[in-house]
Symmetry: C2
């Protein structure tokens, strides 16, 4: 029996560096002479037998993936339920893999994807289909357990810290007669990792950001307003970073868009303007607010070099794990030391990853709940080190991002309909 | 009589490259052996006799200004009224200049500042105080007449085009099961220059942005919704760029924060979420929206090299004009050719600049009102060319922005009170 082919699929929100992982997967497969496919739009494409055949993908385009944001093959928000509830989906998936002689499945995502990967490994065993399932870590939320950090996070962290630094220089220049309070909303549904990274912008007392609002700390309106007022009176102005996931003492999000995504999570957005309006109403200060939204997680132009390297490394390791016959594991980043920063990859069981969310440790948040501690700095700082600037086109002034000519593999099975969500 | 000293002041919203202008002013004064001061927080500091004495400023810090965003000496939103209405202010200003032997005044701002500069030149003449007043162009809005572009604009244009490109790659990857419509709000109170620059992100048909909403085109809800629907049905997803200044057919802003700035302009913000919600309500598509706000005009990390060079050049020219005895002029950028891009500086009378707003030409907007034309591309493209990346700190991973030790000159006059605004 041949070693079979490998299928790579992206899952959930994409990042500035997930395509670096894809690049490593393709390049490693080629070097190891393994056929490589990518599912179109993640698991949905796998079910529909929409598989991009990457065998003929030109080398230059593949290499350009390393510095291209977004998800080159498409991702999805689609969660397979239990083996009982979604039995037909799982069986279809195995049929698709079998039809294309796929013996290695790499699922590049977060906690939900780790859970799905485990179920796929389980059904493959039940159906006696030899399959190596490898989870590949990715999430800007940085909320996977076990791994020191998640590829994608370092870059959004760098974007956020640089943006807070730059916008605060603007506010500092204008505060005498204009904006006194600047509010920036950042991503992080349940964990304050991105909000905490914003704290790297400041080094000394009274450097911005002056206030960080974390999902881990219940919002205390009176304490917050007192802090903003004291900062404006002492410094002249105040920069506030607020995580989209901030909740009040009752556990309710401060601002909810009222809609939910495919996983049943509330779709958030708007806590930035909410906080800014609160400051205006209660303290009377002129304000501005920013919500960078997708800009923060797609900002490949300001990616962290460490993050891009880790994203590439996990892709390469995942292929090697699969070809070595490992199953149900994920390459996790293990920090060997912070100073100097050293790390290595180790295989960890997906059972330790699936459905577990890693919260920001309380020890990373100052006692008053509004800032980050030296321990947090030691953790975060190495992750945003180094630049990995994409090539720019001299004429257009824009980054040269990959535009791949992708080709779907010929279908071998009858069409399969996924019920509309 | 000596050649006297020079006072430099920043006015209005700051930019990613206004400090490059300041850098050029200081370096040129030093080379020409002219004493140089900067007003703290713009004209407000000049009235209060708060003048930073830049004679002793260290060379490294001065050089670092070239790549530092924000306004190093502070700016302000404070408009002097007519000579009659604000006579006391104008006389005080001349008294301050006289006390510090300032014979050259450089005012770095937009249309309002050009108007103020003219009035200062007029009162100096009336009071027989020999003073050369030079306007120095600056505004992210790019709405000054005569000059080909305004320093500060090229960098926000580059930031905007790159951000739209990157965020759209994210949306493209997610659209199958998540966000279908992404809305990004950009600055531009009355003119759609920044919105138009976003159009540079797309090269071919169906490249993002798919819809641009300009202040110059009255918002037509039905046509907009039809365009978004057709785009989603054809492409699968849709990126919309909306200028903060978009108005409906009655000339009212689509979304107003309800407050006004010091000039009586309505403080805008929130048209992005407004448009996104409209799409959701009327078409039912999942959406995300971004409002980068100050991030766009302070993003020195992605500054345009052409813009940074022009910002530096106008500072140098302004000093040279003043020392040559010119008065009431501004260095304007004259485009010699687009291909290859060549430009030079020419002195133009401030009377041609003051209070005139340059609108985006209708010929830059496609007939349907939702995109940019090839003529627009020829104009915009050279302005975002080249990168001028700031140095980064290897340990912190952040740009090394200037932190100056500024020293106020000893006051020579009694205190002066500016009525609270």
């Amino acid at each position: 029996m041949s070693q079979g082919n490998l299928l790579y699929a992206q899952s959930g929100g994409v990042t500035a560096v997930i395509n670096a992982t894809a690049c490593a997967v393709i390049q490693t497969c080629r070097r190891r002479k393994v056929g490589v496919f990518a599912a179109r739009n993640g698991i949905i494409g796998a079910l529909r037998e929409e598989l991009f055949d990457l065998s003929g993908l030109e080398a230059a385009g593949t290499a350009a993936l390393r510095h291209t944001p977004g998800g080159a093959f498409g991702s999805c928000r689609f969660k397979l339920k239990s083996l009982d509830a979604d039995r037909a989906h799982y069986e279809r998936l195995i049929a698709v893999l079998r039809a294309h002689d796929i013996r290695h499945f790499l699922y590049n995502g977060g906690n939900d994807s780790a859970d799905t990967s485990l179920k796929i490994a389980q059904i493959a065993r039940a159906l006696r289909f030899p399959l190596n399932v490898i989870g590949v870590p990715k999430t800007v939320d940085n909320d996977l357990p076990v791994t020191d950090s998640c590829p994608g996070f370092g870059s959004v962290a760098k974007y956020t810290a640089v943006s807070v630094l730059e916008a605060s220089l603007d506010v500092a220049a204008m505060h005498e007669s204009s904006t006194k309070v600047f509010v920036m909303e950042v991503m992080g549904r349940h964990a304050g990792w991105i909000a905490a990274a914003a704290g790297l912008a400041g080094k000394r007392a009274d450097d911005p950001p002056h206030v960080i609002l974390f999902p881990e700390i219940a919002f205390d309106e009176a304490a917050f307003l007192a802090r903003v007022k004291a900062t404006v009176e002492r410094v002249g102005w105040c920069t506030v970073v607020v995580s989209e996931g901030v909740k009040n003492a009752d556990g309710r999000f401060l601002a909810e868009a009222g809609t939910t995504d495919a996983f049943g999570h509330a779709q958030l957005g708007g806590v930035g303007p909410f906080i800014a309006q609160l400051v205006k109403t209660r303290l009377g200060y002129k304000f501005h607010w920013a919500v960078p939204d997708y800009l923060q997680r797609s900002a490949r132009h300001i990616a962290s070099k460490v993050d891009a390297e880790q994203a590439f490394a996990v892709g390469k390791a995942a292929v090697e794990y699969a070809l070595a016959g490992r199953n149900g594991v994920m390459p996790a980043i293990k920090r060997v030391s912070s100073t100097p920063f050293k790390w290595k990859l180790v295989p960890v069981p997906l059972t330790t990853i699936a459905n577990v969310e890693k919260k920001l440790p309380r020890s990373y948040i100052t006692a008053d709940g509004f800032g980050i501690t030296p321990a947090a700095r030691r953790y975060f700082e190495p992750l945003i080190r180094g630049e990995d600037t994409p090539p720019y086109n001299a004429k257009s002034g824009l980054p040269e991002y990959a535009t791949l000519k992708l080709k779907l593999a010929r279908k071998k099975l009858p069409a399969y309909r996924i019920a509309d969500k």
